[in-house]
Symmetry: C2
Subunit: 457 residues, 2 copies
């Protein structure tokens, strides 16, 4: 993929320099819109409008829809009204709604002036729905059929109206806008009798989502049911639009990135990495860094409270990083596993007892193995090889006992916090590594000093 | 989704108890195969075969294909040869190949004995390809057309042969198995003239993958191009199969889970969380835990080397967790951002200078803000509120200076290791939080004691 982009970009640059516009046209016509977008985003701003005008009309609209809003604005500002109308006419209505949503007011005015009245109405309908709802990501362009139509009539209707629709492969059977059933083009084409009414071959058990359903839930249903499109209905069961699988794939990608960012203690980013300024990155990263730094005050206080004893047994200090890190790693293993299972819908709050029991057994296995390994390491390596004779077997025992207890605590905290968060309606993803680490740090130090006090002082 | 499953499961259980088989049939016919699978997996083993026999034939095959291998084996063992043949005949060939791949030898023998010769041949072809290659996930059942066919002939062919195909919506135009072009059912249905030859409306710029292309790359191309299916060709450009979008969605989900697991220091799991035994979890988690614990030996050695000075200035110990955690968090923010961008194809190794320069600026912003905040916190809270008068402004300065330097180092390590890993052909995901934390811990302690030595002793 990469190699291909680089070479094509160079060629296009050279052809632009040489003003070989016909050759450019011939090349562009062979390319996928996505690949054209990739080339565009590497080019200098002033070359874009020229290159854009060389695209075939339908490709132009597809490329336009995929461009970054900054580039879209730039292009629109250079368009004549006729050019703008040509692009807007070719856009799918969901892309047009996205565009209107992103552009500044004066640009929006021009776009709406060029859109035909039907599209203007549909754009406004989509924009009524809250961000991230099914209504806001749907398109209103789908094929609707009537129950009494025959298979032959249905196919004729698809052939007549299908050209503007985002997908023709799933058709919706409606009466007075009520969604009665769903029928695929495959069902229609493979029907043995052309005179069968659609109502006889349609599937009446339609799975649909409401206009306000969260887009993440919609996307999850796509990966569950492998649909090409999902109907969106209003409160009265009237069909208002469809969400298509390509939008669902984008949503999944976006939501996964958001989850991963949250798990690493960042606010979700709006832009791709290369388009983010250092200040954008700073703004996304500093809140959690600052919060977690401040909350490390607790670990500091615990160590300070134990200062005198530590001064007497300085050797204990050397094991603090190992205990804290192992605790943190154990905790994040559990929390990340649970967060992912929750977001894939594999787990629910009701599974909590099963989860906790499983983690207890796992942490006993992990804790005991690590404690044994750690004891061997301390006695053989730290004491014998490094010759650190301050380390008594008793010290090693304290460290290893703490290790086992810390692993248990860490896994308990790690597996339960995400489920509690989910239950309370928060996003479980924020209960990941950094947050868990901070809590586990404090707990593991308390355990360490507690056990040390019992055995060493 | 959840509520729905629970209620249906209860109803089905009750109906099974009451032996209301006709009612059960009526209910099952309204359900999506995926939802039936969800119910099955909650039921007791001995109830499964009975319930399975109540399913309509086509649904039975779909449900069977989605079941866990353990359940599949259980069902097959209870099947008569006729029943087995019925299920196998209805399976898509890629699902049949998966089944053969998962079952023990004696079961495989029975399956192959029931499959018709054509399917047996195709199963064997798919199984020839290495795991995770496009060849191993493709299906050999696609619609192929000839270039000279007219639109009308093409539609007739689709109607005649489409019933066994996993998708009919994308058709492949081949001659002597060479892939010449691709045409969608939409193009065919919307063609204005039924006598146009397929070669005139087909798209000759076909994007395809090789049989050995990694499945992750195939899936990435789906989210890039929004295809319904992707043709798989052999070295000679001959078409051998297709990968469909639903398989691509599964691959994306699977690969993302794998990435997330690796980022949290775990080996990728084979089973879902609820199906994993504690021993499975232990086996996935212990290698990294043990490795990271052992590598904490370095931090221990650094602290031991500095023991005497620490004994003189015990107050320094209290800040170790805060410095280490902030370093770890800063580093994982950078590494996770880069890993995700690499896996989405937004970044490549050639962007390294841009990335490093961006992270330098970001870490100066983060480092300076945290240092200032930390200085205020130490002087106002730790010194005044907690009354810890051991903390001199000079000590606070050493801590905060270390903080700023640690953030810079952590972000450098965090952003560069994943790119280096990618460059060397390793999976960047292992260069995430736990690994970075261990390195950053050691580095931040060295910086801390270095700066402390310069200013305090």
């Amino acid at each position: 993929m990469a190699v291909h982009d680089v070479t094509i970009e160079k060629t296009i640059r050279a052809l632009l320099d040489d003003k070989k516009y016909q050759t450019l046209k011939d090349i562009l016509v062979t390319m996928e819109p996505t690949d054209i977008v990739a080339v565009f985003e590497e080019l200098e701003e002033e070359r874009m409008p020229l290159l854009f005008r060389l695209l075939p009309k339908e490709t132009a609209a597809e490329v336009f829809a995929e461009l970054d809003p900054d580039w879209q604005e730039l292009l629109i500002k250079g368009f004549s009204d006729t050019e703008l109308k040509e692009v807007v006419d070719e856009l799918y209505v969901d892309d047009a709604a996205d565009l209107v949503d992103e552009m500044p007011a004066n640009v929006v005015k021009r776009i709406l002036a060029q859109a035909d009245p039907e599209m203007r109405k549909e754009i406004n309908e989509i924009l009524r729905y809250p961000d991230n709802s099914a209504g806001s990501v749907m398109t209103t362009e789908y094929v609707s059929l009537r129950p009494h139509m025959t298979v032959a009539e249905a196919i004729v209707r698809i052939r007549r109206t299908g050209v503007d629709k985002e997908t023709i492969y799933t058709c919706y059977v409606t009466e007075e806008r009520k969604l009665l059933g769903v029928v695929s083009v495959k069902d229609l084409l493979l029907a043995t009798d052309d005179d069968t009414p659609v109502s006889q071959i349609m599937d009446e058990n339609v799975i649909s989502v409401g206009t306000l359903t969260d887009q993440e839930e919609v996307a999850q249903m796509f990966s569950r049911y492998n649909f090409l499109a999902m109907p969106v209905v209003d409160n009265g069961g009237r069909m208002v639009g469809i969400v298509t699988f390509d939008d669902a794939m984008d949503i999944i990608e976006e939501e996964t990135t958001e989850d991963i960012e949250k798990m690493a203690g960042m606010l979700p980013s709006e832009k791709t990495y290369l388009r983010s300024t250092p200040f954008d990155l700073f703004r996304n990263r500093i809140p959690w860094l600052a919060l977690l730094m401040i909350s490390a005050t607790f670990t500091g206080m615990i160590i300070t409270g134990f200062e005198n004893k530590l001064a007497a047994q300085v050797v204990l200090t050397a094991f603090i990083p190992m205990l804290m890190d192992t605790g943190g790693n154990s905790g994040s293993q559990a929390s990340v596993t649970i967060i992912r299972a929750l977001s894939l819908g594999e787990l629910e709050f009701k599974d909590a007892p099963k989860v906790i029991w499983k983690e207890i057994r796992t942490s006993v296995l992990c804790g005991v193995s690590l404690a044994v390994l750690c004891f061997a390491k301390i006695m053989l390596f730290d004491r014998l090889v490094l010759g650190n004779t301050d380390i008594m077997p008793k010290t090693a025992f304290v460290v290893c006992f703490t290790m086992a207890v810390t692993v248990l605590i860490a896994k308990m905290v790690g597996c339960s916090l995400p489920m509690v968060a989910k239950r309370l309606g928060f996003d479980p993803a924020v209960m990941a590594s950094p947050f868990i680490t901070t809590i586990v740090d404090a707990l593991s130090l308390l355990v360490y000093f507690g056990i040390a006090s019992a055995f060493l002082f």
